[in-house]
Amino acid sequence: MPLSPAPVLAKPKALRRERPGDEDTNPMTLEEIKNLLFCQVLTHDADLSVEVDTVLASDGMSEILAFHRPGALMITGLTNIQSVRTADIADVRAIVYIRGKRVNEKAMDLARQKKIPVLTTKLGMFDVCGILREHGMKGAM
């Protein structure tokens, strides 16, 4: 029986980009991100109307610093004080902690002091990045 040619699948729009920055990003508010990722907001006085347009996602803090852009959203599974220190140094606009990890109290104290909004989601890194990418956010790396 002759083999039929493999069906040609349309490439999803989100995967067409060749390099970061090749297309326009779609800024989102923290409120929209909170709803998309089913987040809990840990800094209760945070202004959720703040917009972010790029994402830094890593558990390695030097990775965040190597590719930082001002005003980016930081996604990480590292929940100790150094994650907030790095966010402050990199001028990150807000942090989303993944995998539902418990955030260190010293980290929360520093986030409140530096006025960095902190959100937490039970989703993992892959899903968080996929959802944000699907909604038009781009990576800073």
Partner: protein, 145 residues
Amino acid sequence: MSEELFKRTFKIQSRNFDRAGENSSEIKGILKGLNLDSEIIRRAVVVAFEAEMNVVMYARVGTLTFLITDEDIHIDVMDEGPGIPDIEQAMQEGFSTATDEMREMGFGFGMGLPNIRKHSDTLKIESQVGKGTALSASIRLNSNA
């Protein structure tokens, strides 16, 4: 000859991960108060922070001297510690001698020294094994790497 505008030396507490980076955070505040270009500030603060973290993680004791002139920002970090046997190797992205404790803090993935080089205009590192390391970096105020 450039004119010295501000100089301060900070002591870095080795192994104190809770306070690690506080000096760099203070430097960020000082630079913001001087209304410098935000990109220059970010580069200087990343250099200071990565250098500070290296001392916290590896050395017994260290200092960070922060100097602003009318031409550039200097960050000089000196420590007493194990030193770096092969500086060229240490400058390669991904090379690391970090312990599990350092990695748990989110550092030690072989990006620290490369980050310092990436964000500075000049960089000089001298090290003696068993004695310590001296790192001297500068960022020109009119540069935008």
